[in-house]
Assembly symmetry: C2
Homo-oligomer: 243 residues x 2
Amino acid sequence: MNTKPFLHTILSPGLLNLYDVENSIVVIIDVFRATSTIATALYNGATKVVPVASVEDCISIGKKMNAITAGERDGKIIQGLQHGNSPAEYPREFINDKTLVLTTTNGTKLLHMALESGASQVVTGSFPNLSAICAHLNKTNKNVILGCSAWKNRFNLEDTLFAGAVIAQIRDNFTIHCDSSLMAEDMYSLHKNNMYQFIRKTTHWHRLASYGLEKDLEYCVTPDIANVLPVYRHGALFTGEQR
Amino acid sequence: MNTKPFLHTILSPGLLNLYDVENSIVVIIDVFRATSTIATALYNGATKVVPVASVEDCISIGKKMNAITAGERDGKIIQGLQHGNSPAEYPREFINDKTLVLTTTNGTKLLHMALESGASQVVTGSFPNLSAICAHLNKTNKNVILGCSAWKNRFNLEDTLFAGAVIAQIRDNFTIHCDSSLMAEDMYSLHKNNMYQFIRKTTHWHRLASYGLEKDLEYCVTPDIANVLPVYRHGALFTGEQR
């Protein structure tokens, strides 16, 4: 009897409600740049990252927690917050032992949707923590939803490529009857050896590169350079090792 | 000045509302099998095809029009209708000079959504009428939305492959800043020489092939074997030549 758990990929938050979120681990994917930044901050010693939906919450919760406030809307830093959504802003010498309160256009929105839909666990993934995500999903052996944050609900390529990278590593341990997953793996196979060039074709690249963020975007598609497992517990993301 | 019209691909009816439907020609794509059947019936001489949302409407409108009623739900013929959703059921000797009233799981739903959203024109496309669609879009020179009907709002590969086939032919005449379109063209390029084999991997294949429809599905991905332009006017689809 086949007892492998199911794996599905959702290409937009607008399609999350079609899937059995309650019985699944949901991996929130926002490669450019929320989940790359979350991995980086935790890898560099942040105590936790608090994802919040609105700028107002970010400011008020940041004040209450005496934390770093950060975020972006449409790729730009927001007035009233201290920092942006670039992983480069969170080296160890700055973020170690601190709490980061983060709000972003797409990633934090999908994370809250997954929580409200009763996901059995929420983790966040991007290329910098690819292997940690794969190891966790293999070990946990539960149904998985790879949730692409997209751009204002529109499909994007970079989140899809990360879903494909995960599937390429763990496919043998899951039951995959899902065209989105087949497509994601194909797209990753097609472009994995050419990633820095390929991402220059994406709409998000054109949106963000106009702010001079090319180095940032290349960092975000580099595997395993901040290889932690961000797990959501009691309102914040902690590295998997912490309790 | 760049005056090329825009082209977008939407991967699910659930994402239609994110796009500027009012100022666009919408191509409804439901490769397995509604839009393949529509092209075939018109190619074989049907006077018109009336797409309806519900089985009840199909029966009552069919009676009023003295027309053939046909449709499927979940790939199966529905009790109360005369025919199913297979292009093979509509050869010229049967359908010539007749009206077909058709209801399907996904395609007719997206078509009605596009009409309600005020699309400037609605046409239907699948591989059997690929070149007719491309010629029309090139000639008309308006913004285009390639609308994949998907499967109960879930992304599917076969509709995406058709979007990619269209884009591969007409891309030079349009402005394409759309990750869905980049992906669709990549997927088509990757599999165009291997289509009969590749569609055997799709979830829809597994759903329909269990009813013995393999020949049907291969027909639906064969280019230009029913090369008409189905255009929606006054409640029905007519071939582009007719007035």
